[in-house]
Point group: C2
Chain length 487, copies 2
């Protein structure tokens, strides 16, 4: 009887355990989780804070309404889940994991034939003065979300400052804005979503967020927090922002100590290195989820890209391989989609900045248009930028924003990139067309056409940033040749 | 100076002309159109009838609000568009087209260097007794839509019968239901959407439409129309349906007479045969849009698949080639998406029935689930069926329905099929994930997983139709092993 031990009971760990159970009905499967809760949808926390989700428990339920607690995993899947149990040491020679019951302090050694490390990540907590003040939260555990929501419900918070304009930061800005409180976002870099948007796209998103009443301060560094027990002010290098609620959202770091102490190889990103089968440098130890590094499918480079969707894929691949399969995880495209009020922002593959840094010769096009025929009610504008390798014509990446159906276009391009598609392929796809859903020539094809025209020299464009710069020159005439209405 | 003549001024024709103008600023480009209107969005007509679109003129406007009339094409693109002008003969030896002014009766001969045939299609009008009665419409020209809408506005119609449960038929059923009148659909085949849905999917769609108050009679043949000047009854082989409005939507046939008379080759489908450059059997004559046949990308077989999206692609390819390029049109996947009240139904590639008929060894999976985490407000159920080649593992097709975001999943699979993707690829794609848009494991990946499990023998399924059949047997025990709520 095979003994499988999994360290970490959220996404990748429990997915691996569940998949292993389906492949091997006889294996003894044990999952240890240091926290009290398991298998929670952490990505749903901003929507719980916003009030879209009534009860935090819902993030831990199956669609049928069963709570995914240890009893559920025992009864339904015959998986032993030990919560409040910390794995303190991996003993690779003896093939055991030392675990500690965090309630009783009791220690035990769990023998394994195959081990899975799914220790996740932890939010970065900058060592700034005042960081320990009350009402400074990291949005990483359901308890954080609960505390913030309860405070909002009791009217405790009226001025929130979010540190970091990445995914969690902006999702939380939206969530807090739902409570009609004052919301500010402070970002050290000179744009929102610095990790995955080009500057002109970020600028448009920033403009939208500001119009919706979210204050955004980019290029500003937080220096300290002032307060009297509870936070009262956020002090940046440029201003003092009053605040009774602070959300730290400056990123996460993989939890690698256990793996490192066991002598497992870490990768260039600092996360645990795994091969395409999700095996660590010890073939009996797999790792997945937010604690490992991934391979970017386009560049072949290692990237740190913690995502719930990726963690679940890791889990499935690991689960199969625990049972002797040789399943592979192909890698990631650093795909992102995020809602900001009614705006959707999406990205897949390389940004223009990425392409430039990596030395690609590339062509981009940024096209704006309706997401369906303009005469249809509900037609919304979207802007779509694609980045194409000028030599191979392969699609390298895309960014899009608008109140339109953005995720669809990003997913189409993600699919094309995964399969090595070219800009010509993007034009060819027989996409589903009907007026409630899209235009006869979809935005993706329009963007592809623009790049194709540029590649043969039929079209030359300038970026919004260049246009803005030129508009500031005195000797530039700006000629609007669009067709007037009702000519 | 190159002379380009285009016969037909709706989608493919005007797209070809416009693209040719962009490539060749000097060419003399003439478009002849037998009707009064040009460049109209025929696909938008059901939404005009429904009242979603205020004015039929909107279907002929650019997004900026300019009407796409002959003056627009002359002023903006220097294209001569002659409306109410019928092309009566192509003289291939002299390289001229004989045209007739339908107002004056005047004839003329237009010389061409390159000719484009974009004569479109015409709705099939069955020679049934009573077919000439008033208030029996074909939904093919904006004038049809106008007449129906005006009648509805004046309260003239209270009982509509639609003949044909294909795209136009069902879109019109929805449109008419918006006016809260009695709507029936009569379909000769034994299911709705007989051309592109498998029976169990069609059954679910039918159930939904019935729940929304649309009467659906499948497997029924219309025999005659009774009335006194205006239609009063539709008589089928099974019943008599009172009706004061009838919509004929039993399909369209390509307008090929002109091409046939000129000795151009027709294809196996009866539509004009073209090569991958959209050239007819005469290399100086191109054809595109609803009058030509297409190649199915998966099977390589010729199909007749008139679609506005395809016509526009044809137009672009023809326009490029008119200027000496060698652009190719790859083919179609017979992709379809249609809205039925709040339900969306989509399809791409081969149905299971197609796969069976074509002799594929295939595996299917039909999975149901939410389109995003179930805890999110707005999460909707969707069912997705995929058909996969059991030998090559290549994806052959998909069908989906639900109140969820169906088009996105269909488009992802369309992209995968276009690029020769396998079921394994479907699992690998790094699709955009965030709770407002999708689950960490998207429905597409869930379906792919189910097929992968079936392919290795880990899962065996039966279709809803088989299940229903078994439920009718006395010696069958049906065991529901789903997890109960709040266990």
């Amino acid at each position: 009887m095979k003994r499988i031990v999994v360290i970490g009971g959220v996404a990748a760990g429990l997915k691996a355990a569940s998949k292993a159970r389906r492949c091997d009905p006889k294996a003894q499967i044990t999952v240890v989780e240091k926290g009290e809760l398991i298998s929670y949808g952490a990505c749903g926390m901003p929507y719980y804070v916003a009030g879209d989700v009534d009860n935090i428990q819902q993030l831990m339920m199956t669609p049928a309404g069963a709570v995914r607690n240890p009893a559920f995993f025992k009864n339904v899947k015959d998986i032993d889940v030990k919560t409040k149990t910390l794995a303190t040491k991996i003993n690779r020679e003896r093939k055991t994991v030392t675990v500690k019951n965090l309630e009783t302090g009791e220690e035990a050694e769990l023998p394994y034939d195959k081990l899975v490390i799914a220790t996740g990540a932890s939010p970065v907590k900058p060592p700034l003065p005042g960081i320990e003040l009350a009402n400074i939260f990291q949005m990483w555990h359901p308890n954080d979300a609960k505390a913030v929501r309860e405070g909002l419900e009791r009217g405790k918070f009226s001025r929130a400052v979010i540190i970091g304009a990445g995914l969690v930061g902006i999702e939380m800005a939206e969530a807090l804005k739902m409570w009609e409180i004052d919301v500010s976002v402070v970002e050290m870099k000179d744009q929102v979503f610095p990790a995955f948007l080009d500057q002109e796209i970020a600028g448009a998103v920033e403009k939208y967020a500001r119009e919706k009443g979210i204050h955004i301060y980019t290029g500003e560094k937080v220096e300290r927090f002032n307060g009297d027990g509870s936070v009262r002010e956020v002090v940046t290098d440029k201003r003092v922002l009053p605040a009774d609620l602070v959300i730290l959202a400056i990123g996460v770091r993989p939890n690698v100590e256990l793996a490192k102490d066991a002598g497992l190889q870490l990768g260039v990103t600092g996360a645990i290195a795994v091969n395409e089968h999700m095996q660590t440098s010890d073939p009996d130890i797999y790792a997945g989820g937010d604690c490992v590094e991934n391979t970017n499918i386009i560049t072949g480079r290692k990237v740190y890209a913690p995502m719930g969707s990726t963690a679940n894929k890791h889990g499935r691949v690991i689960g199969e391989n625990l049972c002797g399969a040789k399943a592979k995880f192909r890698g990631v495209l650093n795909t992102v989609v995020v809602k900001v009020m009614d705006l959707t922002v999406g990205k897949v593959g390389l940004t223009e900045r990425d392409a430039k840094e990596l030395g690609y010769e590339y062509v981009t096009a940024l096209v704006a248009g309706h997401d369906r025929p303009h005469y249809m009610p509900g037609a919304k504008l979207m802007s779509l930028k694609i980045v194409v390798d000028a030599n191979t014509r392969r699609v390298l990446g895309a960014q899009a924003f608008g109140e339109a159906e953005i995720a669809k276009r990003i997913d189409v391009i993600a699919t094309a990139i995964t399969l090595g598609g070219t800009v010509d392929d993007l034009f060819d796809i027989d996409l589903a067309y009907a007026p409630p859903f899209s235009s006869p020539i979809d935005n993706v094809a329009v963007a592809a056409n623009a790049v194709m025209n540029k590649l043969v020299g039929k079209l030359k464009g300038i970026s919004p940033l260049e246009a803005k710069e030129k508009l500031n020159c005195e000797d530039i005439v700006f000629l609007d040749v669009r067709v007037a209405r009702r000519m």
